[in-house]
């Protein structure tokens, strides 16, 4: 009885010239409250898998069960964060973060107050009436996180949400996201190509091999890293040894290709 069950998922993209198999035989289970990272070289189907779990793409084969129910018909159970904030530039921050609630007809005084409180908690109080372009990159990505969390999704998908930020902002935001998700007890899946980020943030790292995308190996993070914030985890002594292990695995994937 796992929270999210991915069973034998295959996916093939069709174009005029070719049929490319992006994913093959993906079977994976995620428990409630767990933080899992998908790590792998580009072209290994990480983002495709994320889109399939989010219900944006229908897989050619296989099933996804969230709390033992098939995905179709589940709305707003899954929140999705993209590489960039994609806040709507013509809407104020308030309109942006209430967008999900509005689209699903959940907007009322209670949910609105909850969303605005969340904005304050995340350190963005008093900017509700501003437009996205008046904020810095880090602030915008935080506002995007509030937008994603406002509909109270059960599962959070993070598609390289830190990759467009400068290093310092990225480290701070990793801590903030990790803390926020812990507080709300959210289950999350992070797609990244940054080994350090995967180790620092997750409970489990799933390494993908490319063409076609398959699960190559799963690394369980030791308890002493799980309990630390991402920033402190990066400084922990076991961090670098795990980094080396995963690095070698990735290297072997690359050499195996040639």
């Amino acid at each position: 009885m796992s929270f999210l069950a991915i069973k034998d998922v295959h996916h093939t993209y069709f174009t005029k010239a070719s049929a490319t198999t992006a994913l093959s035989e993906i079977t994976l289970q995620v428990e409630e409250g767990e933080f899992v990272s998908f790590l792998g070289p580009s072209g290994c189907g990480k983002t495709t898998l994320l889109s399939i779990i989010a219900g944006l793409i229908k897989p050619t084969h296989g099933t996804i069960l969230l709390e033992n129910k098939p995905l179709s018909g589940l709305k707003n159970q899954i929140g999705y964060m993209l590489q960039q904030d994609y806040l709507f530039p013509w809407k104020t921050i308030e309109e942006n973060i209430l967008l999900g609630l509005k689209l699903s007809n959940q907007l009322n005084d209670g949910t609105k107050r909850a969303a605005l409180d969340l904005l304050k908690q995340i350190g963005l109080g008093g900017i509700e009436k501003q437009l996205p372009k008046q904020l810095s990159g880090g602030m915008r990505q935080r506002a995007a996180l509030v937008r994603t969390l406002a509909t109270e999704p059960k599962l959070l998908m993070l598609d390289e949400p830190f990759s467009a930020l400068d290093y310092q902002t990225k480290l701070k935001l990793e801590d903030l996201v990790s803390k926020t998700l812990d507080e709300f007890g959210k289950t999350a899946i992070l797609v990244t190509h940054d080994i350090g980020e995967a180790i620092a943030m997750s409970d489990r790292v799933v390494l993908f091999s490319p063409s076609p995308g398959r699960i190559h190996k799963v690394f369980e993070m030791p308890d002493e890293l799980k309990s630390l914030s991402p920033f402190n985890a990066r400084n922990h002594e076991t961090f670098s040894s795990i980094f080396q292990t995963i690095w070698k695995e990735l290297e072997s994937l690359e050499s195996g290709k040639e």
């Binding site: 989010a54 944006l56 999705y80 994609y86 709507f88 013509w90 967008l99 689209l103 509909t151």
Partner: protein, 268 residues
């Protein structure tokens, strides 16, 4: 320290001064061109260097302007043409946007209709004038239709292109919130294309003037286009020039108004 600041202030003042001098020179030469053109026209007409029957003269046009202004015919003709143009270009822009929305809604329809759009766009729309007049009757409706039809296809093509170029990630955000196609259109596609729609409005102002004036050439018994044709038929070229100048002034004002609207609607 404060000395350094003072000198920066001074330099800045000098810079602003030089800017305003440059602006004054530009205005000066613009005025010179205006005066030289009109006084040259007047002079060569009086000296009969050019045929005054054909090219008239500014003083004759001015006198005719005063006369037509006082007997009210100029304003009523202008009113007719202006109304037709405004309706024409608003109708053209709205219909074009609506058609673009329809094409976005159904990719299948857009594929089917694509070659027809190309043909319609390439065809000179004023050539449809006689058919419109027969179909809608000689009157306001066929002239407004001319003003609209001349801009509708190009609006459709430009706006549809801008609909398609909206960053798909905005749609992805909406889809993860379970938005349907109508919500995607309302929340992302339409507002993102708003600047394009406003700028087609600017192009359409000019196009609709063409459509309406040609329409009036063909049918009407009122309006500035009619004044041109009437002046031409009775060989009163002063009347033709008067109408041309009025059209130039009013069309410019209209264009400026749309530009003002653009600035208001698209907040920087």
């Amino acid at each position: 320290m404060s000395q350094g600041k003072n000198s920066v202030n001074l330099l800045h003042k000098n810079y602003l001064h030089s800017l305003s001098i440059e602006k004054r020179w530009v205005r000066f030469y613009q005025g010179v061109i205006f005066i030289v053109f009109f006084s040259g026209w007047e002079l060569s007409s009086q000296q009969r260097w050019i045929d005054p029957l054909l090219f008239s003269s500014p003083s004759k046009i001015w006198n005719l302007f005063l006369e037509k202004f006082h007997d009210g015919t100029l304003l009523s003709n202008l009113g007719v043409t202006l109304t037709e143009t405004v309706f024409g270009f608003i109708l053209g822009t709205l219909l074009g946007t609506l058609l673009a929305a329809l094409l976005w809604w159904s990719p299948m329809l857009s594929k089917i209709i694509d070659p027809y759009l190309v043909i319609l766009n390439a065809m000179p729309k004023v050539a449809l004038g006689p058919i419109l007049i027969v179909a809608l009757g000689p009157g306001y409706s066929s002239i407004i239709a001319m003003g609209a039809i001349i801009s509708v296809i190009i609006t459709t093509i430009v706006v549809y292109t801008s609909f398609k170029e909206v960053d798909p990630n905005y749609l992805k955000v909406l889809q993860t919130f379970g938005a349907n196609r109508f919500q995607c259109f309302k929340e992302a596609i339409l507002p993102a294309s708003f600047p394009t729609i406003i700028s087609t409005l600017k192009v359409n102002v000019g196009l609709s003037w063409v459509g309406v004036i040609v329409g009036e050439f063909l049918v009407s018994s009122r309006g500035l286009g009619y004044m041109i044709i009437y002046g031409f038929q009775v060989f009163n070229f002063t009347l033709v020039f008067l109408s041309l100048l009025v059209i130039a002034v009013v069309a410019t004002i209209m264009y400026q108004l749309v530009e003002l609207l653009e600035k208001k609607l698209i907040k920087e």
